[in-house]
Amino acid sequence: MSDAQPDLRRRLAHRHHLIGWCGLLVFLSLGIGLETLHGLKLGFYLDPEHRLRRLLWTLAHAHGTLLAVVNIAFAAGLTQFGRWNPRALRLASILLVDALVLLPLGFFLGGIGHTEVDPSPWVLLVPVGAAFLLISVAMIAWSAARPIAGDSGPRSEPPPGP
């Protein structure tokens, strides 16, 4: 099986690195926003009847932040570890980015127009994002279990030149 081109890996690593840090910026900002809502004791977030909104927005913050870190970790390892088919690599990359968008977005929008019992229908984005994440993580795990093509184990130091 052929391995992905090093330049494809570098390109995707750069993309995930960028998206990951941007994601962190967005979702950490959301976290600060939520803390501000606590600080200002705003009813639409803290009133008992909005318990579900509070939970969902917290989940949006937590999932977004975590997935942003996962994207950065993927970028960091991509050029060094795992054996990838180029098509599979591009698919895993797309799914990971989609998951970063869909999961927190589903949670966040689910907290708008919710009832006492259930989130709003936007929460249906969450299972779709979760499925994408699962597939992507499975593919990364599968590739990580295999060495990069031509890599036959730990290299010894090259002999000193003449």
Binding site: D118, P121, L125, V128
Partner: protein, 658 residues
């Protein structure tokens, strides 16, 4: 939009975004297939869930299983929490440390020299009190009480409790499943043990077990103080009840009392597609009763089941299980008769009366209704409201929920926030907002300008206190003549006569031109004093309760309370009246001046205590001008007038059937 519609729309949106991405990776055709497969799997699963969701109401509520309130908490956490705070929830509880309010640390209660002890035995709560057989022989002995052997005591384990707000009754479970009410209960507000004879309106008695001998929880309390009750009496071959296998869906008044059996609702709503569908349709869930979606009569009948005067229609009940067939939303009158006097109640119970028969008015000793049909005790609030012009002419505008709420309200009276003010009435009578004092003729910030002071006065007694009448009406002199019901005006203007009230009311534009003819005493003597001296115990307990009200103290002055109340209490044979009389003195003078006095003490002790109080109050004679109080020139009560009025007292033995 339906849940399925939402799902398809969302999936379509996702597909539009990810399809080009998949296409670029997998190739157009393969990407399309993979995308379609993933999204189709989601859409299909959701469609299957949606299709399996039942939407119609259960065909028969009788077959719907019950579901405990804890199962509601998972989805309705806020409603569960607000209900959890209420005294409805804790109306009946097992006797466990978190529920027991009484003092069982070896406390002792003495009633007329008869001792009751309260203590723990391991985990059990125990009441050691007078043996019921001894109490009976003592009561039967009458004047020959000296020949009765010394009191025998019996130990009862306290198994169950009724009440958690005002009073807490202790129940003992007999081996045959019968729960009996023990003769001493705990007065939560006063933090003291009280004999049942003092807790309920009844005259002093020699029979220690009089109020508890026939009090069986399975017969009475079971139905209104619990959810989903079934009496399940077991009869012996002679047809006598030998055992009870009574069951409840839940002790206390839980979710299902107002929302009906919830088993089907819980089962169906495990399906998320169904919940989303309901959320989008906003039609409400037919698998559970939402009182707000019912018509006003059906909605109010949920409350009326326990806050109304009812006798079961035996033909509508299963006479074997005697399970209450009512499910919220049902026409309550299909399974019960509404009664308006105890005479009617007896007629319905004996099946000698039909709902269409002409009304039988309350007698002068009726324990639930004043002579004009106004309820005089609690748990009849629906009857009071139904008699009100506001309800009858409101054409469905007014309901119990106009002022009360079961969830966000104050657990104390379950009032909707804001409904402790005139806003309650302004909901319909908004025009009075601008011309309040013109209508009330009282200063705007005074209790006299609060609608309910005059239209819902404290004419109801139970639980050792008075409560607002739920018959919303204009106070009239005729309503208080011959009915026993004290007049609203004179429950604040305690120092004024009924004649004064009549003349004042004549100034109101809506007043009738008729000038009721009153007796000389009614013209000249304070109505409150007349009722306290001459009235029966029902009237006396309501009037003496008014003396504690801040509005009455402000309107009538308080310097005359002590001399008059101590004199009248000397002749009082109803402990509840003595309790409220002393409570009024404490409210005005505090314990240092108005104590000690034990309303349940032995007669000689009580008399001694009252005389001491009287001397203390007489030392500070009344100085103000009170045109309708019989005062001597020295500012003391005119004993001759009081004696004359007391001789006119109508004082049959009666009780208020709380």
């Amino acid at each position: 939009m339906s849940a399925l519609g939402w799902t398809l729309l969302l999936l379509l949106g996702v597909a539009l975004v990810v399809a080009p991405q998949f296409g670029s990776v997998l190739g157009r055709k393969r990407g399309l297939w993979v995308g379609a497969a993933v999204l189709g799997a989601f859409g299909g699963a959701w469609a299957l869930l949606d299709r399996s969701a039942a939407r119609l109401a259960p065909t028969s509520w009788a077959g719907v299983p019950s579901s405990p309130s804890d199962s509601c908490q998972k989805c309705h956490a806020d409603h569960y929490e607000s209900w959890h705070r209420t005294y409805h929830r804790t109306m009946t509880r097992e006797a466990t440390p978190e529920n027991v309010r009484g003092d069982f640390a070896d406390a002792v209660h003495d009633y007329q020299g008869l001792r009751t002890r309260f203590f723990r035995e391991g985990d059990a709560y125990v009441m050691e009190t007078i043996d019921p057989d001894w109490a009976l022989s003592r009561a039967r002995a009458g004047e020959a009480a000296h020949s009765v052997p010394p009191p025998r005591h019996a130990r009862y384990r306290v198994d169950r409790l009724v009440g958690s707000h005002w009073l807490q009754e202790c129940l003992h479970r007999q081996p045959n499943g019968r729960y009996i009410r023990l003769p001493v209960l705990y007065h939560i507000a006063e933090r003291r043990w009280v004999h049942t004879n003092g807790a309920f309106l009844a005259p002093d008695t020699d029979d220690f077990w009089q109020k508890s001998r026939a009090a069986t929880w399975n017969d009475t309390c079971l139905y209104c103080h619990n959810t989903g009750p079934s009496k399940n009496p077991v009869r012996d071959p002679r047809g006598q009840v030998s055992e009870f296998k009574s069951t409840v869906a839940e002790l206390g008044i839980a979710c299902e009392a107002c929302h009906g059996p919830g088993g089907e609702h819980v089962r169906r709503n495990h399906n998320p597609a169904r919940r989303f569908d309901l959320q989008q349709s906003r039609d409400g869930d037919a698998s559970i009763v939402n009182p707000l979606r019912l018509s006003v009569p059906r909605r109010d009948e949920i409350c009326a089941r326990c806050h109304g005067a009812l006798v079961p229609r035996v033909e509508a009940w299963d006479l074997v299980s005697q399970r209450d067939p009512f499910v919220p939303g049902m026409d309550l009158a299909r399974i019960n008769f509404f009664f308006r006097s105890e005479a009617e109640q007896a007629g319905f119970a004996k099946r000698s009366r039909a709902q269409s028969d002409p009304p039988i008015p309350p007698t002068p000793t009726d324990g639930r209704f004043w002579g004009d049909g106004t309820p005089l005790t609690t748990a009849l609030e629906y009857n009071g409201m139904a008699l009100s012009a506001c309800y009858q002419k409101g054409q469905g505008t007014m309901s119990c929920l106009s002022c009360h709420e079961m969830h966000p309200g104050d657990p104390n009276h379950m009032l909707t926030p804001g409904m402790r003010s005139n806003e309650a009435c302004f909901q319909c009578h908004d025009s009075y907002r601008e011309r309040l004092t013109e209508h009330t003729r009282h200063p705007a910030d005074s209790p006299g300008s609060q609608c309910f002071s005059c239209h819902m006065p404290h004419q109801v007694y139970s639980l050792l206190t008075t409560h607002r009448s739920h018959r919303i009406e204009n106070p009239t002199i005729e309503g208080s003549l011959g009915t026993g019901k004290p007049h609203a005006c004179n429950l604040c203007h305690l120092d004024k006569s009924l004649g004064w009230t009549r003349d004042e009311l004549a100034r109101w534009p809506a007043a009738t031109r008729k000038r009721p003819v009153l007796s000389e005493d009614e013209e000249r003597v304070s109505a409150a004093l007349l009722w306290l001296a001459r009235g029966d115990a029902r009237t006396r307990v309501v009037v003496i309760g008014a003396f504690s009200e801040p509005a009455a103290r402000r309107a009538a002055g308080t310097e005359w309370f002590g001399p008059f109340v101590t004199r009248l209490l000397e002749h009082e044979r109803y402990p509840a009246v003595r309790y409220l009389g002393h409570r009024a003195l404490l409210a005005v003078h505090g314990e240092s001046r108005a104590g000690p006095f034990d309303y349940l003490g032995r007669p000689a002790t009580r008399l001694e205590q009252l005389r001491a109080l009287r001397e203390r109050f007489d030392a500070d004679p009344v100085r103000g001008r009170y045109d309708f109080l019989p005062l001597t020139p020295r500012g003391l009560p005119d004993e001759a007038v009081l004696r004359r009025l007391l001789e006119l007292r109508t004082d049959p033995d009666l009780t208020i059937n709380e």
